[in-house]
């Protein structure tokens, strides 16, 4: 019997952690209870994008999206909707603008401004089914490249498309391919960088979890062009689901003959393996990544020679990011010309962003290059929750920089972001509201970079540590005059002298926050003040005698016993010894405890 409904249950990592497995199991049970198992098919998909709404399920053919589904809701969904055709209204999405209930998932604000190329299949197909991938033109591009196009023609299409590396640096993809193709070598390799390590980034993971074959197909096409017969996908061990789905996809692709020997009877051989990294951030740097695959310690080496000339085991190696490979098949199918019409003059196609931080709709969004930051964080991201304003966004994670709200009209492309002192990076977007302390944020990223520094070169190993020491004392109220200049000088020197991309970009979060929020740094140093009330050492708690009812609640909750007073006697906090934990502030029923910053 043919099915009449397809129920797509998002099984991206975010929905999984909010309970989508329970929902799926409940669906199976309830569908069986109603004798509908032959009419309805349940499909587990990769990330659909709106992680904030998770667990989400999408019902076809009517494209009805249910949000925040709990297993208790499943009975209603099956009985009311699947059986009687009445969508369950309380689980539908409500437009933030019009307050109207929205049934069709494409009409939801979050999806309206998106353009899906890379994520086309994500959340739409069962990532573990090669048949579903094939049904949506899967492996057609590989077949076309191998049987109808020669290597030069494929390369030409990539050149025409204007595709640039999605890992962050934006190097033209066709050039990288050409260098590797032209390099001398009896053996060549293609490698996929899936070592996505920046806090707040989950684009590559989602692509692999949601549509693993698209990466495999892109790599196979690259291998054909450069003349490689072996490839590796380097994934971090923290992505177990991505690894599992990739392995299944590789196995299936081999069974169908899309990997292996004499693919499409063209004489082209290509095999692919997954290599698992231990999660060191520096292994996202290409030379460190190559060392790690070779079984050596994951540290970088000076370039040149570039991997395209001397890469894995000394052989010419083409190394691209997940998202770069995921674009390839679409360019081959629809042509470089089609792709080059999307985006801006210098940056073509789309970019996938992972929205997180102080933003209403956290999740995954793919937009054409040239979309403004404003459109990305307000129209798609829904702005900051609880009516707060977003004062800046951090782009490019710990290697990138912040962009302040004055520049939110900037169109997103490689050059304009670099000009502002940020970078495209791999696509992590962290929104920061007025409650964010920029000095503390810079310290967070610098702490990350200092920890992840491999220690091979002095500027990165010692320089970052010294920057951290200065930042740390500023946030503790011990900043000295001249500290800002010291940070800038150190940062600029590290950028110029560090060995690899990690060190060369690590000072960026500090430098860019100084550029745009120098005043916050000054306040910390000169006035010992943290406007956002984040740096605990700069806070002072005191009790307003007029409001204190001497209930003793604060004193009872003070872990260090510095609140004096008894029943009937107004309480007072002894500043010396106060650890600024805020317990008194939280428990006072009369709002008598005041939190303030700056000199007391």
């Amino acid at each position: 019997m043919a099915q009449r409904l397809n129920v797509l249950v998002c099984s991206g990592a975010s929905c999984l952690s909010s309970g989508s497995i329970d929902v799926k199991d409940a669906l199976i049970e309830e569908i069986e209870n109603n004798g509908l198992e032959e009419e309805i098919k349940i499909i587990e998909t990769g990330c659909m994008g709106p992680c904030e709404l998770g667990p989400v399920i999408l019902v076809y053919p009517d494209e009805i999206l249910y949000k925040k589904v709990k297993k208790e809701d499943v009975k209603d969904i099956v009985e009311q909707h699947f059986l009687k055709g009445r969508p369950v209204e309380r689980l539908l999405y409500k437009s933030t603008e019009t307050e109207k209930l929205i049934k069709k998932h494409e009409e939801i604000d979050y999806f309206k401004k998106q353009k899906k190329i890379v994520l086309r299949n994500c959340g739409m197909i069962d990532p573990e089914s090669i048949e579903e991938y094939i049904a949506l033109d899967g492996y057609e591009a590989l077949g076309k490249a191998l049987t109808e196009m020669n290597k030069e023609k494929v390369l030409k299409e990539i050149e025409t498309s204007g595709l640039r590396g999605r890992g962050g640096a934006g190097f033209p993809t066709h050039l990288k391919w050409k260098f590797t193709k032209d390099a001398d070598g009896d053996k060549k390799y293609v490698v996929c960088n899936a070592d996505e390590g920046d806090p707040g980034a989950f684009m590559d993971r989602s692509v692999i979890e949601g549509d693993p074959h698209t990466v495999i197909e892109g790599m196979a096409i690259a291998a054909y062009v450069i003349g490689a017969d072996m490839g590796y996908i380097y994934v971090r061990a923290e992505y177990p689901l991505a690894i599992e789905r990739l392995r299944k996809a590789i196995k299936d692709a081999k069974e169908y003959g899309f990997l292996g020997e004499n693919i499409f009877e063209s004489g082209f051989n290509f095999d692919l393996e997954v290599r698992i990294g231990a999660g060191a951030f520096v292994c996202g740097e290409e030379t460190a990544l190559i060392h790690s695959i070779e079984g050596k310690r994951g540290t970088p080496r000076p370039r040149p020679p570039y991997p395209s000339v001397e890469g894995l085991w000394g052989k010419p190696t083409n190394l691209n990011n997940v998202e770069t490979y995921a674009n390839v098949r679409h360019i081959i199918l629809k042509g470089g010309n089609w792709f080059s019409k999307i985006g801006t003059e210098s940056s073509k196609g789309t970019k996938v962003f992972a929205l997180s931080g102080d933003i209403t709709n956290t999740g995954l969004a793919e937009v054409p290059m040239g979309t403004t930051i404003k459109e990305l964080i307000y129209d798609i991201g829904g702005g900051a929750p609880e009516g707060k304003t977003i004062k800046a966004v951090q782009l490019g994670g710990p290697s990138g920089g912040c962009i302040t709200h004055e520049y939110f009209d900037t169109p997103i492309d490689y050059e304009s972001l670099t000009e502002l002192g940020a970078m495209m990076g791999s696509g992590g977007v962290i929104a920061m509201s007025e409650d964010t302390c920029m000095v503390n944020t810079a310290k967070f990223f610098l702490d990350f970079n200092t920890f992840e520094s491999c220690g091979k070169c002095t500027p990165c190993r010692v320089g970052l540590k010294q920057m951290y020491v200065i930042l740390d004392r500023i946030t503790k109220g011990e900043g000295e005059t001249g500290d800002i200049d010291r940070l800038v000088e150190l940062g600029e020197n590290i950028k110029k002298t560090a060995l690899c991309g990690l060190g060369q970009t690590a000072p960026n979060p500090v430098l860019s926050t100084i550029r745009y929020f120098r005043n916050e740094y000054r306040q910390h140093i000169e006035e010992k003040k943290c406007q956002a009330m984040v740096c605990t050492d700069l806070l002072t708690y005191y009790i307003e005698p007029d409001k204190c009812k001497a209930c003793t609640l604060c004193a009872q909750n003070c872990p260090v016993d510095v609140i004096e007073g008894e029943r009937g006697v107004v309480h007072e906090i002894q500043q010396e010894g106060c650890i600024k934990c805020g317990n008194c502030y939280d428990v006072c029923p009369f709002d008598a405890v005041v939190k303030t910053t700056g000199e007391f």
């Binding site: 019997m1 043919a2 099915q3 009449r4 409904l5 397809n6 797509l8 009419e39 076809y60 053919p61 009517d62 494209e63 059986l83 009687k84 055709g85 009445r86 739409m124 197909i125 048949e131 579903e132 094939i134 049904a135 949506l136 033109d137 899967g138 492996y139 057609e140 077949g143 076309k144 049987t147 109808e148 169908y256 003959g257 899309f258 693919i263 499409f264 009877e265």
Partner: protein, 121 residues
Amino acid sequence: MKNLDELRKLRKKAQKNIKLRSQDAKIKIVVGMGTSGIAAGAREVLNAFVNEINDKNLDDVLVTQTGEKGMSSQEPIVEIHEEGKPKVIYGEMDPEKVKKVVEQHIQNNKVVEEFVVAVEE
């Protein structure tokens, strides 16, 4: 995988399984599945449509369902939506009648007058 033809054959087969998720249907068949509809046999009608459309490989036809239609006396009710044409509503449907509607109306564009309860512009 030997060649593109083989891949395309495989794709054709695979597409059947994800047809519900493609958005290019020209004709939409909507079955009223309210309580009274179900009691009158709407589920059998719905499934009969799904199977007929599948067996006959009618790629551009979508079968879906809706709630109560407000014509309880003539359930099961089925609406045929086609762009640029008036909406045809059939009443008192059963799996046998479904076959006829698919053959005549869906495949040959001839409305089955004897089952029609209303035509809405």
